[in-house]
């Protein structure tokens, strides 16, 4: 049941209505049932997996806490280690088994020429692929469980109510692709009765509509252009290679942030707040800044549960660089069991190392050069150049992220480096999709939202009072936005990109 599907359009109002009609004490149970139904609508059997992991982590959390209270720290630590192993082993089995097998088989196949000199045939060492179906959202709820048991180990109070704990990972608005929640914030909201607020409800509707537009009108229209470009990478000229790469940058942002908006909006309809995941990432002035703005809940998770435990930045520069690289490599691998994700992680890892080193040079350096660079970055030109530079770097990373093979990634990059070469690979696909209209609408919408206060001030009082939409007018506006999103959407919807992770 995709957020952008008709099934969800039916499911969400029913869930919301039931939520508000029931007294507080039954709401968690209702949400859990709704969330399990939502999850099992994809593949029922994986509901068992989610339930099993929930039970294991619930009791591990309690065990860790009781050991800490009884001052048996080593036993608490042992329970934590067991918990992390169970969670990571589950994730690894479902996500990385085939990746490990195919990587191993490639190594074995590479031994082929040595066959005459070996006592065995290298082919006999290869294994058949298992073709395991990845349970949706596993990467997200496993990270939430690890965060939970780690924080309990660090001294946070565990969740006593099993229903509430189950809901922490299963909550349908954030179940499949995050945001990766922190249980302390979420449980607080579950425990305090939600009070209906029409303002918040309307905010939720606006957010869902915004997310729907990003997903169906922008990301889904860009998807075929990107696919056409990356599938014909070697035929792309300079302009079209850039276009394909930029189209993917916008697609992945709109797809993922659209999903997040719809999830956060759905939660808001029931009075919950989920953390935001994006903050204008393509306006980042550096790579470090980018990771504070892109997939914020994942980057903060990686920081808290990987980078800092590895030693963080409070160690020697070489160790810090190692920590950064390792965090980004594993972050890349988290996205998918494929080498191109590892390369993407490595690119960002190296980029962050250079970024940190440069920041150290500029901010802590004493010389005239350091001073000049610092002042330059504070100018408008410097800011724009920093943004463009960061975006170009991120774009190169996205090429590796999107391309299915290294060859295809290099072909797109080669195209981007050949500005004089022309091609018409994308022309027909672009013509077929109303993407420019959708982008124009979104740009106007963002400008209006960004300048809403100034616009309101500019309109004289009686007019602004008359114009301020009352309920019927607002309903009409929401309905129009919905029709607009559907109208600009292509006939066939694409699944959310992050559902594959």
């Amino acid at each position: 049941m995709l957020f952008s599907s008709l099934s969800y359009l039916l499911f969400l109002p029913i869930a919301c209505l039931a939520f508000w009609l029931l007294p507080h004490r039954f709401r968690s149970t209702l949400l859990l049932a709704a969330s399990m139904y939502f999850y099992m609508s994809f593949l029922p059997i994986y509901g068992v997996l989610l339930a099993a992991l929930t039970v294991v982590n619930y009791f591990l959390g309690r065990d860790i806490y009781s050991n800490l209270v009884a001052e048996r720290k080593s036993r608490a630590k042992a329970a934590l280690v067991v918990g992390i192993i169970i969670n990571l082993a589950t994730l690894s089995y479902f996500k990385y088994t085939d990746f490990a097998i195919s990587s191993w088989n490639s190594v074995v196949a590479g031994l082929g020429p040595l066959a005459p000199y070996l006592a065995f045939h290298p082919g006999s060492l290869s294994f058949p692929l298992q073709h395991i179906v990845l349970p949706l959202g596993i990467s997200f709820f496993v990270f939430e469980f690890i965060h939970y048991i780690t924080d309990v180990y660090k001294g946070s109070k565990p969740i006593g109510n099993f229903i509430n704990f189950s809901l922490f990972a299963a909550f349908f608005p954030s179940q499949i692709a995050g945001p990766i929640k922190r249980y302390q914030d979420f449980i607080k909201q579950l425990e305090v009765p939600r009070v209906f607020s029409s303002t918040k409800f309307e905010q939720g509707i606006t957010m869902i509509l915004q997310g729907l537009f990003k997903k169906v009108a922008l990301a889904d229209n860009l998807s075929p252009i990107v696919t056409q470009g990356f599938n014909n990478a070697t035929a792309l000229g300079g302009g079209e290679a850039w276009l394909a790469a930029i189209a993917f940058a916008i697609q992945i942002y709109c797809d993922f942030s659209g999903y997040t908006d719809m999830g956060r909006g759905s939660a808001m309809l029931m009075g919950f707040d989920l953390p935001d995941n994006f903050n204008w990432p393509y306006l980042a002035k550096s790579l470090t800044d980018f990771w504070k703005r892109w997939h914020i809940s994942l980057s903060s998770w990686l920081r808290d549960y990987l980078y800092i435990p590895l030693g963080g930045s409070k160690c020697s520069p070489s160790r810090r660089h190692f920590n950064l690289l390792m965090t980004m490599l594993l972050g890349g691998l988290w996205h998918g069991a494929s080498w191109h994700f590892v390369v993407w992680g490595a690119i960002h890892g190296f980029g962050l190392i250079v970024n940190h080193s440069y920041d150290g040079l500029v901010n802590k350096g004493q010389g005239a050069v350091a001073g000049a660079l610092k002042s330059f970055h504070q100018t408008q030109v410097g800011t724009v150049i920093s943004m463009l530079g960061t975006f170009a770097f991120v774009l190169v990373g996205w090429v590796f992220f999107r391309a299915e093979t290294m060859g295809s990634a290099l072909a797109v990059l080669h195209g981007m480096a050949s500005p004089m070469v022309t091609s018409t690979v994308l022309a027909e696909t672009i013509e077929k999709h109303p993407i420019f209209a959708a982008l124009a609408v979104y740009a106007v919408y963002r400008i209006l939202v960004h300048n809403s206060a100034a616009i309101a001030r500019a309109i004289p009082m009686p007019v602004s009072k008359i114009m301020k939409p009352m309920l019927p007018a607002r309903v009409i506006i929401y309905a129009s936005l919905f029709v607009m999103a559907i109208g600009l959407a292509p006939a066939t919807a694409s699944p959310f990109i992050y559902f594959a992770f």
Binding site: K432, A437, M470, I476, A491
Partner: protein, 389 residues
Amino acid sequence: MGSNKNARKSKLSLASGLTAGLQGLTYLALCIAALEGLFYLAAVGDGEHVFPDMKVGYKIFANKRITQRNEGFGCFLLNSFGMQNDEISVAKPAGVYRIAVFGDSYVEALQVPRKANYLNIVARDLSAKLGREVQVLNFGVSNYSVAQDYLRYQTLAKQFRPDLVIQVFRVEEIGKLLPMETQSLLFVRPVLFPGPNNDVVYDNTCVRQFMAGKEGKRLLATNWLRANSRIWGVLSFMWQQAQVFQGETQAKAQSMIGTKKSGPSFSLPTDQTRSNYAKCYWYMMDRQLSCFKNECAAQGTKFMFLRTPMVRPGAHDLTDNDTETMLLEKTASKLDVPVLNLDKAYRSWAGTHDDGTNFSAGGHFTAPLHKWVANNLTNFLYTDTKDKQ
């Protein structure tokens, strides 16, 4: 005092309700205008191109811009006569050779830009070859049968006084011969039965039934919106999606609770069945074609058949119907009408399998196939015209 206060309060709430209502109406008008403008600029919501017609079953809208994105891409302005053609004058300019082409969506060609369809290529190339202007008029309409083509000739095309009428007879054309009860406009057809005096008897019972039914009434009632509103186009699309979803959900629910009705399931008949069907009903087709040809001849218009290949939607192999081909050739010979069999030519040119190069996912011609058909048709017409000159 209290009642005064209450009266004032109810007056106030009435006033604010009225204000809210008026404001809502204003916003509704503004939103409609904004959405129509946006959808017009984005070429969205203008996919519907036919409307119900009591005589022919359905017709193409006149002067409507339509955009087709499901299969290839095409954005066209239909002309004032309701044709997938550039604007034309009824009077034939002196020296112009006019060809009128009849057929279904393969002729209508909404899947490629108008300039790239084979009719336009033939017009351009044949004009160049003959050294005189050749106009090729597109009378194709999605899913039209030969009977509808003949009626379209009588009600529309005749006035253009074509020099040549080409009846496109794609493989499985005979499948559209018989009357059928339907809730889908593109299947609403009158039937021409063989009459007692070598003529045909017009029967539009199915059309009348459709018009009297729920869907027919809905379409008639919303004709203006379907012709002019792009918002309506989007809403119709949403409605169709919702109906598909409802059907799927019902089927799913029925299969879950084990109440799925086991009825006759539809599957394509065997080659033998299709062959027998063609043989059985060819007399009707033969009569329709004879009358069509004779009426053209009475106007001094030449007549020919163009047999084109077909791939079923979603399939990758050419559909065979040798019996139909044989029967068509027999009728053509009887009527002394030339046949250009491009189904046969295609098989020796490209084989029977297609990987999506020549046929789109919906089974229609892609631009390269339009070019190939145009080349063959141009050469045929050039030779034919030159020989007779």
